[in-house]
């Protein structure tokens, strides 16, 4: 098995959200400068969308018809764009704080956006509960809020089940909740916590950091894979173990089924996890602090690492597209110093080939 980089494109700033057309010919990127970009997959040529976010753009999904792109941002806004004209035609204030991440239900009917500011709520900096729901589900057609769910902030990650009936969200404390969209009310159908994704500094700083940075349901919907970084003594070090865990969320209580093997772990924050078409493998990617890789493909059954890649840049989003064996990795290098009054491009978009 092999994972190798084929192409690398540069964009002005880091990419936080990425999606693609069904045929993989066009990519859409949500960038740190608030811009939304269309990128030609073959040439790397970019076009800017007219509507932009007032802060970091953080999420980016394309409706199944390919005509509507929806983006979210740290301005708390969700924007609907026409992909043909690249004009924004709807703006919805979703949260009073950031939209950390957004997900699209496979049937295209819903988007879910997660939010929540971490404010000190106790002597030991336990997060203060949010006055507004941190998980909001919207109707993609009308833009209206369909469901509001509470979760302890900040809520960093969100995913829909393959049947579009459940939504899951993970927070900084390693708490995961799953709600049934068909059932009215606030109560989650699953509510469990893994201590392996968060840090509370015993040296340097007394507060939490880390958390579950991405979530994905397995193709059969029965399990949930979470990724992030293991605990650190010094939360400023950024050197917790690269981590994924797989949970049977339908069990009562939820049960951890598998996790990354010790021998496969480097250290660094893992920010994205995605299943390959067919579900035999999944990719996890992020930033490498120590180790030999920052993007790796794992066997979905055995859990072992099958192949990996050091992209030499932070990866924020891994995306399988319609083209078989193609994985797009989006992210950034460190922002270069300003030189002669100019800032150089530091966003990166990598086309990689995965051969099973």
């Amino acid at each position: 098995m092999k994972l190798e980089k084929q192409k690398e494109y540069k964009v002005p700033t880091a990419i936080h959200g990425l999606t693609a057309t069904a045929d993989g010919g066009k990519l859409y990127a949500a960038c740190l400068d608030g811009q939304v970009l269309e990128v030609d997959a073959e040439s790397g040529k970019t076009e800017e969308f007219e509507g932009r976010h007032g802060s970091f753009a953080s999420g980016c999904v394309l409706l199944p018809d390919g005509k509507t792109l929806i983006t979210s941002g740290y301005d708390g806004m969700i924007l609907w764009h026409d992909t043909a004209t690249r004009k924004c035609w709807r703006r919805v204030k979703a949260h009073s704080f950031w939209s950390w991440k957004m997900a699209l239900s496979p049937d295209g009917r819903y988007i879910a956006s997660v939010s929540g500011q971490y404010l000190a709520g106790g002597l030991k900096y336990e997060p203060l509960p949010s006055p507004e729901p941190c998980v909001r589900v919207f109707d993609t057609a009308s833009g209206e809020v369909l469901r509001d769910y509470h979760h302890l902030p900040p809520v960093l990650s969100v995913a829909f089940s393959p049947d579009s009936r459940h939504v899951a969200a993970g927070n900084m404390m390693g708490g995961m909740r799953v709600w049934n969209l068909d059932t009215p009310g606030q109560d989650p159908v699953a509510d469990f916590t893994s201590p392996d994704f968060t840090s509370w500094g015993t040296t340097k700083s007394h507060h939490y950091c880390g958390g579950i940075y991405d979530l994905v349901f397995s193709p059969d919907g029965g399990t949930l894979v979470a990724c992030g970084m293991g605990p650190m003594v010094d939360p400023m070090a950024g050197n917790g173990k690269m981590t994924w865990q797989r949970w049977d969320w339908k069990a009562s209580p939820a049960k951890q089924m598998d996790k990354i093997k010790d021998s496969d772990q480097g250290s660094g924050l893992m920010e994205s996890v995605a299943f390959a078409p067919g579900g035999a493998h999944f990719v996890m990617a992020g930033r490498q602090a120590q180790g030999t890789w920052n993007a790796a493909v794992f066997d979905a059954v055995q859990g072992g690492l099958t192949c990996s890649l050091d992209t030499k840049c932070r990866v924020t989003k891994a995306l399988f597209t319609g083209t078989e064996g193609t994985i797009w990795l989006a992210g950034a290098q460190g922002q270069p110093n300003r030189e002669n009054g100019k800032w150089r491009d530091y966003g990166r978009l990598l086309r990689c080939r995965f051969e099973a």
Partner: protein, 437 residues
């Protein structure tokens, strides 16, 4: 100026204070002896109110100027937070600081700090000592100098208190008593408190107060004899430390947060940084001239810069607002200097770990209160915050400003037999005159 001495100017200030205190005391009661004068509650209260003092909020690890006092909205260096207008026309703070924005007309912000040390320990040393180091000599830190110059003799309350809930959490761990007080001597080092410190008053030896006093007299006699016979610096330090602990135990109630009003604790808390700041207010109110509040090293956000600053900055915003407002309401702001600063700033560019790194080239700090004008922003950085475009200010300019604001001669010379000539601030570096009252 010998260790333990003070400058002629300070004598003048103290005499004035004394006379003011005497007048007040005289009105309140008949003063028949010096002892009576000093034990007069009215005089003591007046002295407390008149005394210059300083609270330093030490933002260890170094906060980002972009997410606090010098935002650059819309620029590549800006980060995700916007800016908001303040009480000073044309001046914006980070949108994370609405409370400070609402009292900006009481604050002084320096946006033109430019220092030389990009490494924590060296920068902390520099910004605590206010002058570059000279090999072989240990300069006292700000708290030791202020405690030495403004502290009361024979007070039970220490003259320099450091409140830090994470004693092992920052580079201060490497500072021993001598590092803090340098050539002033260990007795001018800080009394450090932190964590769940609540047991000051607990006497568990089973002795009566009379027995304990007798035992202490004996201990004191032999300890002093040992120190004198051997001319031992170590013994002197140990005796000084012991005396301070005894003093501390005698005023243990001042350190009991539970004895402060619940409303105050709610306004400052719930985090330990806020509660320690409340404690600092309480301590200066009761006569301590210098209290420094640290909170580990939580600002050093090489990773998760924005994810952590979105929690830390609102907490600082609330704490600074509460402190300044409280001091003003209690009539203490004119005599209390508040400084909120770290050891440098953060880079205009983000690293690959979504963090900002150390940046001494152009950074900001905030001061308010005693000896300063109100509602002043000094200095300017370029559109991206990469460099200072107005006159840069160094640690020496800062310390000259602090000393002047506290009524101390910034250029006073230390009398150190056998040592080179040292001043509180070397090179006669000027104070930041734009903010001095």
């Amino acid at each position: 100026m010998k260790p333990g001495d003070c400058t002629p100017n300070e004598h003048t200030i103290h005499r004035r204070r004394f006379l003011q205190g005497m007048g007040t005391a005289g009105m309140a009661s008949l003063v028949t002896s010096w002892a009576g004068l000093f034990s007069s509650p009215a005089f003591a209260e007046q002295m407390k109110k008149q005394q210059k003092r300083c609270i330093m909020l030490w933002l260890c690890g170094a906060p980002s100027q972009f997410e606090t006092w010098d935002p650059k909205p819309g620029r590549p260096s800006s980060g995700p937070f916007g800016s908001i207008p303040t009480k000073i026309p044309g001046v914006h703070f980070s949108s994370l600081m609405p409370k400070c924005a609402s009292i900006a007309d009481k604050l002084c912000v320096v946006r033109s700090m430019k220092t030389t040390q990009p490494e924590h320990f060296l920068a902390i040393t520099l910004l605590q000592q206010g002058n570059p180091q000279r090999a072989g000599f240990t300069r006292p830190t700000l708290g030791s100098v202020v405690g030495h110059a403004l502290g009361q003799v024979d007070t039970r309350l220490p003259n320099f208190i450091l409140l830090d809930p994470i004693p092992g959490g920052n580079e201060f761990q490497s500072f021993k008593a001598g590092n803090w007080a340098g050539w002033l001597g260990a007795e001018y080092g800080p009394v450090r408190l932190g964590g769940d410190y609540t047991q000051l008053a607990a006497g568990n030896d089973g002795l009566t107060p009379a027995d304990r006093e007798e035992r202490e007299g004996l201990r004191k006699f032999f300890a002093k004899k040992y120190e004198n016979d051997r001319k031992s610096t170590a013994a002197r330090s140990q005796n000084a430390a012991f005396e301070r602990v005894r003093g501390l135990m005698a005023c243990a109630d001042l350190f009991d947060l539970e004895k402060l009003p619940v409303g105050d604790r709610l306004r400052y808390g719930p985090g330990s940084f806020g509660l320690n700041t409340l404690q600092a207010r309480h301590l200066v109110e009761n006569g301590c001239p210098f209290v420094m509040v640290a909170n580990g090293m939580s600002w050093d956000n090489h990773v998760f810069q924005h994810e952590i600053h979105q929690m830390l900055v609102p907490e600082m915003d609330r704490i600074v607002h509460q402190l300044i407002t409280d001091l003003e309401e209690r009539g203490m702001l004119d005599n209390t200097l508040v400084v909120a600063m770290g050891e440098f700033g953060r880079t205009p560019w983000m690293n690959a770990a979504r963090g900002r790194d150390h940046y001494p080239n152009a950074w900001s700090l905030m001061m308010a209160g005693g000896g300063l004008k109100r509602g002043v922003v000094v200095g300017e950085t370029d559109e991206d915050g990469v460099d200072v475009v107005s006159k840069p200010h160094s640690e020496q300019n800062l310390f000259a400003t602090i000393f002047t604001a506290l009524g101390l001669d910034p250029y006073a010379e230390y009398d150190l037999p056998g040592m080179p000539t040292f001043h509180r601030v070397e090179d006669r570096a000027p104070a930041i005159s734009e903010i001095l009252a």
